[in-house]
C-alpha cells in the first residue's frame, strides 16, 4: 500500500527562551485509506506534527511528504490534498454556516454554481440543513465541530487531519463525531487523528502511534500494542498505607509479569490465571488496601509501560 503521509526525522526546535525541542526526530508512515491515531499526553508533539503536515509549522529539519507532495517545499500544492480540523473553533464568524462552506470551496477554485451545490450537499450530509443561515457563534461546540469537519472535506482532500477533535465536547457530540470519522473510512479518506483519549484512539484507529516528548515510541494496531504489554489482566491496587516492599512481594507471585507504581498504589500486569487475584489481594491487605480493580490492558497501559507515567497528568 502506498503511504499517504511519510515523515522522516522530523525535528522542530523553538528558540525560546526557554528553548524547546517539540519534535525530536519523528518518523511515521500513514497508509492510504487508514484511520491513524496519534496518541500522547499534552505537550508530546502531536499538534506540532499536525502543524508540519498541514503547512502551518516549518520543521527545523527532516521531511514531510503528504500524498507525494513535499509540504515544506510546496505548501500551496500540499494544501490541495489535505483537510484540516484544528482543536479550536476557527469558523469564519462573519459568515453563515453555508457561507463558510461556500467560500471554502471558492478558495479551492470551485466555480460559483459548483460551490453552491457542494455546500448544500455537505449541509445535507452533515445534517446541518436547518443551521445553514446560522452564524457560527450561535452553534453549540458539537455542531461547530461538525461544520468544521464538513468544511475540511469540502474540497475533497485525500487526507484529513483532526487535531484533538473531541476535546471539550459533551459525550453525545463526541459519539456523533466518532461516527463521522468512521464515515471517512468509507469515503476512502485517510485520517490522521491526534488525541489524548486512549479510548478514542482505540476505537477509531486502524493503527496507533504513541508519542511522547517529541518522539514516536511505538506504532502498531491497537490490538497488537495491547498484546505487547504481555499481560492479559491488569490489577490496579489503591493503598492507603506506605507500600515499600510490596512490589517485590507481588512480583514473586507466579503469573505476575510486571508491577508498576501509580499514584497512591500499584499496577500489576499479569497473565489470566485462576486464583491469582486472591493471592494479590492477600499480599496487599497488610498495606491498607482500599480498592482493587481488574481490567484488560488498554492503550493507557501500553503508555504507562513505555514511559512509566500516566497519559493524563
Amino acid at each position: 500500500m502506498t503511504a499517504a503521509i511519510r515523515l522522516d526525522g522530523l525535528v522542530k526546535e523553538y528558540a525560546g527562551p526557554p528553548a524547546v525541542r517539540a519534535l525530536d526526530g519523528v518518523d511515521l508512515e500513514v497508509r492510504a485509506g487508514e484511520v491513524f491515531g496519534l496518541l500522547g499526553p499534552n505537550g508530546a508533539g502531536k499538534t506540532t506534527t499536525v502543524g508540519v503536515c498541514t503547512t502551518r509549522v516549518l520543521p527545523t529539519s527532516g521531511s514531510a511528504i503528504v500524498e507525494g507532495v513535499d509540504v515544506v517545499r510546496h505548501p500551496s500544492a500540499a494544501r490541495r490534498t489535505i483537510g484540516v480540523v484544528s482543536q479550536y473553533n476557527t469558523l469564519d464568524r462573519s459568515c453563515t454556516v453555508r457561507e463558510n462552506l461556500y467560500y471554502h470551496c471558492r478558495y479551492f477554485g470551485l466555480g460559483r454554481a459548483e460551490s453552491r451545490v457542494r455546500a448544500d450537499e455537505l449541509l445535507a450530509q452533515f445534517h446541518l440543513g436547518d443551521r445553514a443561515t446560522a452564524m457560527p457563534m450561535q452553534l453549540s461546540g458539537g455542531l461547530a465541530q461538525r461544520v468544521q469537519v464538513a468544511r475540511a472535506i469540502a474540497h475533497r482532500p485525500a487526507v484529513l487531519f483532526l487535531d484533538e477533535p473531541t476535546a471539550g465536547l459533551d459525550p453525545q457530540s463526541r459519539l456523533a463525531l466518532w461516527e463521522l470519522i468512521e464515515g471517512m473510512r468509507e469515503r476512502g479518506i485517510t485520517v490522521l487523528l491526534t488525541t489524548h483519549y486512549m479510548d478514542e484512539a482505540d476505537r477509531l484507529s486502524d493503527r496507533v502511534a504513541i508519542i511522547d516528548a517529541g518522539r514516536v515510541l511505538v506504532c502498531d494496531t491497537p490490538a497488537a500494542l495491547k498484546r505487547q504489554v504481555g499481560a492479559e489482566t491488569v490489577v490496579q491496587l489503591q493503598l492507603d498505607g506506605a507500600f515499600d516492599g510490596l512490589a517485590s512481594v507481588l512480583a514473586g507471585i507466579s503469573g505476575v509479569r510486571d508491577v508498576l507504581p501509580t499514584e497512591g498504589g500499584l499496577r500489576v500486569m499479569a497473565t489470566a490465571r485462576e486464583g491469582l487475584l486472591p493471592r494479590i489481594v492477600e499480599a496487599a491487605a497488610p498495606f491498607e488496601l482500599r480498592d482493587v480493580s481488574v481490567s484488560e490492558p488498554t492503550l493507557e497501559t501500553v503508555f504507562i509501560r513505555l514511559t512509566g507515567k500516566a497519559l493524563r497528568d
Partner: protein, 269 residues
C-alpha cells in the same frame, strides 16, 4: 498544460468575494464609521464656524477658504481610517483570539498572497470611503468650495496609491500590534497621524515651523493629503508631484513589506 498560477487567481478571487460579502452585510456600520468623522468635521469647521463668525483661515494659503483645504484632507483621513477599521482591527482579532484566519491561511495559495489580498481589499474599501465622503465635504460647507480636476489620470493614480497605502498600513498595524494594545494604537498612531497629517492645513503652510514641516514627512498621510490636494484642489499650495508620488510608492512598498512579513510570522511557526 494549464497555467500554474490559475489556482492562485481563483483562490485570491475567492478571498475577495468573501470580504465583499462581509462588507455588504455590514454596509450600514461601514457607512456610519466612514462618514461620521468627516461629516462632523466639515459641519463644524466649514458650516458652523463661518456662520458664527469664528472663521478659520489657513496661514499662508493665499486666502484660500478653509472648506477647500478640508476637502482633500478629510478624504485622505477617511481612507486611512478604512485601512485601520477594515483591515487592522478585524485582522488583529482573526489572528489572535478567534484564529478565524486559519481557513484562509490554509487556502491553496502562497501565504504572502493572503496578506496582499487584505491590502487590496482594504484599498477597495478606502476608495469606497473616499467616494462616500466627497459629496459631504463638497456640499455641506457654507462657503463655496473650489474643486476642479485638472488631470484625471493624476487623480486616479493618487487615489490608487493612497488607498493601497491605507490598506498596507492596516495590514502592518493589524499584524504588528498585539491585540491587547489595539486600543492604545488609536492614541499612539491614529490620532497623531490625523492631526499631523496636513489634513487641516497644506504642508507649505507649515513653513514658519520648520522642524514640524520636516518632522511630519515621516507620516504617510501627509503625502495622501498633498497628493489629493494636487489632484482635486490645485489652486491650493501643494507638494511637488514627483515628491508625493515617490513618497506614496515608497510608503506602499515599505508598509506592505512589513505587513506581509509580520503576517507570515503570525501564521506560520
Amino acid at each position: 498544460m494549464t497555467d500554474p498560477r490559475r489556482p492562485y487567481v481563483r483562490a485570491f478571487a475567492g478571498l475577495m468575494l468573501r470580504d465583499t460579502r462581509v462588507l455588504v452585510r455590514n454596509f450600514a456600520p461601514f457607512v456610519t464609521r466612514t462618514v461620521m468623522n468627516p461629516l462632523l468635521s466639515v459641519f463644524v469647521f466649514a458650516y458652523v464656524f463661518p456662520r458664527i463668525g469664528q472663521g478659520m483661515r489657513a496661514g499662508g494659503a493665499g486666502g484660500a477658504n478653509f472648506a477647500t483645504i478640508l476637502v482633500p484632507g478629510l478624504i485622505a483621513v477617511a481612507m486611512v481610517f478604512q485601512g485601520i477599521a477594515a483591515v487592522a482591527l478585524p485582522l488583529s482579532m482573526e489572528l489572535g483570539a478567534t484564529r478565524e484566519i486559519e481557513d484562509r491561511v490554509l487556502a491553496p495559495i502562497p501565504n504572502w498572497l493572503v496578506a496582499v489580498e487584505k491590502i487590496v481589499f482594504g484599498a477597495v474599501q478606502g476608495v469606497v470611503a473616499g467616494l462616500a465622503v466627497f459629496p459631504l465635504v463638497y456640499l455641506i460647507p457654507a462657503t463655496p468650495v473650489d474643486v476642479h480636476v485638472e488631470s484625471w489620470p493624476l487623480l486616479v493614480v493618487v487615489i490608487a496609491l493612497a488607498s493601497l497605502a491605507s490598506g498596507a498600513l492596516g495590514l502592518a498595524l493589524g499584524t504588528v500590534v498585539r491585540p491587547q494594545h489595539i486600543g492604545l494604537m488609536f492614541a499612539v498612531v491614529v490620532v497623531p497621524m490625523t492631526f499631523l497629517g496636513c489634513v487641516y492645513y497644506p504642508w507649505a503652510a507649515l513653513h514658519p515651523i520648520r522642524w514640524l514641516q520636516i518632522g511630519v514627512l515621516v507620516n504617510p498621510l501627509v503625502y495622501m493629503s498633498e497628493g489629493l490636494r494636487a489632484a482635486l484642489t490645485p489652486s491650493l499650495p501643494h507638494m511637488p508631484l514627483p515628491l508625493f508620488l515617490a513618497a506614496l510608492v515608497a510608503a506602499v512598498l515599505a508598509l506592505s513589506a512589513i505587513g506581509v512579513r509580520a503576517f507570515r510570522q503570525r501564521t506560520i511557526d
